[in-house]
């Protein structure tokens, strides 16, 4: 919980990791390149006092995680999003089991999400069922750019992906987090194409598709899809830290998201350990749309910030919110885009 100026903010960090990117676990140059790429994002967009040395970033401790999220980071509930990367890391980068072990040592703190890969075919469906029962899954995180042998990625609209989405419905896994790209192959397509989310969201109206980093770097394509599909949400991982380095750009991104979607379909995320929730939460609560942009984007009210920082994710995951941080009941998930979202021409 974060409290400022008499307002209480319930914090759900919708995207956190406990990974092992250390050299001992790197299977090849791709594993080294992957964690170094993360590290450059971390170094580039974090305030100086939050930048770690590379060796700590590659493999931080359980104590770092717990302190940064819950002791110092104001987080009430954190959602583990696995990233397997079995072709890059000997034991995987960040698996459901690694996350689950931590979650079991700290009851009530975490929600454990699983994952699946449609290229595993029939046997993967059975594995998903076991995983779902073992960890009480209500969400999965899918990484469509993951390499697997000769395959360098997959799409949500693939026939086998539909089989897995049907299985999710059957198992009560309703929150489908999608990490787009860069899907590397085929090379003559846009690496960050989000069109497959559109198809899947239409085909599975009972599932929620939370697109991580709100489709960046294809913000406009994501907005266009989300305008048409009421069950598409935007996760703010990667967008959040711009609040420090490029606040005017952050205002524009948030302004566009609020215009095309609405305040009920955006969820806060730090992408820990790429960034840390403490400074993101503090700065977001203090943040306001710059004056010269307000005619276009309006202002951010405490209510909007409360929804984004925790209440929206709490609704998706059925997390109980303490009374002092809750907002009065209002109809949401009405199936219609709310507010100023435009009518999309056929």
């Amino acid at each position: 919980m974060y409290t400022k100026d008499g307002e209480h903010y319930f914090i759900v960090d919708s995207h956190v990791h406990f990974w092992d990117g250390s050299p001992a676990n790197q299977a090849n140059r791709y594993g080294k390149g992957f964690v170094e790429c993360f590290y450059d994002y971390h170094r580039n967009l974090s305030p100086d006092e939050w930048v770690w040395p590379l060796d700590k970033f590659e493999r931080y401790s359980e104590k770092d995680l717990m302190d940064d999220l819950f002791v110092n980071g104001y987080v009430d509930k954190a959602i583990f999003q696995p990233t397997y990367l079995g072709d890059f890391y000997v034991n995987g980068f960040n698996t459901t089991e690694q996350d689950g072990a931590i979650a079991e040592r700290h009851p009530g703190r975490f929600i454990v999400n699983g994952s699946w890969d449609p290229r595993e075919g029939e046997s993967g469906l059975d594995r998903l069922e076991v995983l779902a029962h073992r960890w009480n899954l209500t969400g999965v995180k899918l990484y469509t750019a993951e390499w697997r042998g000769d395959s360098k990625g997959w799409k949500l609209s693939d026939p086998w992906a539909y089989r897995y989405l049907e299985k999710c419905e059957e198992l009560g896994i309703v929150n489908i987090h999608v990490h787009k790209g860069p899907t590397i192959y085929p090379l003559n397509r846009d690496a960050f194409d989000v069109a497959d989310v559109d198809e899947a969201a239409s085909a599975f109206p009972n599932l929620r598709f939370i697109v991580e980093h709100c489709g960046l770097p294809r913000l406009e394509d994501f907005c266009w899809i989300a305008t048409q599909e009421p069950n598409v949400y935007g996760g703010l991982a990667v967008a959040m830290p711009f609040i420090h380095t490029r606040p005017r750009y952050f205002a524009q991104v948030l302004g566009e998201l609020l215009y095309w979607l609405d305040e009920n379909r955006l969820t806060f995320a730090s992408d820990y350990a790429i960034w840390s929730p403490r400074w993101l939460v503090e700065r977001f609560v203090d943040f306001q749309i710059p004056e010269d942009m307000r005619a276009e984007y309006g202002v951010l009210t405490p209510e909007i910030k409360k929804k984004i920082l925790g209440l929206n994710a709490a609704r998706l995951y059925g997390i109980e919110v303490p009374g002092e941080a809750a907002l009065p009941e209002e109809p949401v998930d009405s199936g219609e885009a709310i507010g100023s979202a435009p009518v999309v021409p056929a």
Binding site: D150, I184, Y249
Partner: protein, 240 residues
């Protein structure tokens, strides 16, 4: 004329040629983005210039299709510089550098550089991003006109002749030309990516979408140049 001067002239001409090579996704010249790490000009025995250009990108996993297009476009641009008899373009520090460099050097085309991984040449991909770049430039011009007091419904009837000469107008005309849209002064300003005039009822939505495209492209360009500086060192962000 001594060889130093020849090399100097050629170096200037090569940089200038590279200035016309755009990152297709970010719609900015690779020179301005800092992607050109090094230009070396030597002389071969027959007297022509031998050029070696090293390109570098913000991350190890930058999309290889865009990387390929930039390396291939840089090779075409440098080979077209008068006096250049041999040009080698080297992409460094990228997971697919070997395939891209070999593919461009051998001039076998995109699909041949990545057997089994690309199902055709990247013309459609390039066009997709030319369309985005056009919408972003349309937003810049319309933003300028609205700031000068034009009403949104006026935009549908105005022509390029009505738009004051400015960097925004010149950029819009270049992007129209890239898409094959008419660029003469009596052409209507507000047309979609296929050249079809926008009806007045759709002006607001079209301009809002164009705005989102511009925000997206400019944001990506800022992120990419920031990551490049983090990766290779250089001046800090300007805080905008």
């Amino acid at each position: 004329m001594n060889t130093g001067t020849v090399a100097g002239h050629t170096t200037t001409a090569v940089w200038s040629a590279l200035g016309a090579v755009l990152d297709p996704e970010l719609d900015e010249p690779v020179t301005r983005l800092g992607f050109v790490h090094e230009v070396e000009v030597g002389e071969c025995e027959a007297g022509g210039a031998v050029v070696r250009v090293v390109l570098r990108l913000p991350t190890y996993f930058c999309a290889p299709n865009f990387a390929y297009l930039m390396v291939a476009d840089a090779a075409d641009a440098v080979r077209a510089v008068p006096g250049v008899t041999h040009a080698e373009i080297v992409l460094c520090d990228h997971f697919a550098a070997a395939e891209i460099n070999a593919g461009v050097a051998e001039e076998h085309g995109f699909a041949a550089a990545f057997p089994g991984e690309a199902t055709g040449e990247p013309a459609v991909l390039r066009r997709t991003f030319q369309r985005k770049a056009y919408l972003a430039s349309l937003d810049r011009v319309c933003g300028m006109l609205l700031a000068r007091g034009w009403r949104p419904d006026e935009l549908t009837t105005r022509t390029l002749a009505d738009v004051p000469d400015s960097p925004e107008r010149r950029r819009l005309v270049r992007r129209r030309a890239a898409l094959g849209l008419p660029c003469d002064p009596d052409s209507v300003v507000l047309v979609d990516e296929d050249g079809v005039p926008i009806p007045s009822g759709q002006v607001t939505t079209t301009l809002r979408f164009a705005r989102a495209v511009r925000v997206s492209i400019e944001g990506n360009a800022g992120l990419c140049t920031g990551l490049l500086r983090t990766r290779y060192g250089g001046v800090q962000e300007d805080g905008s």
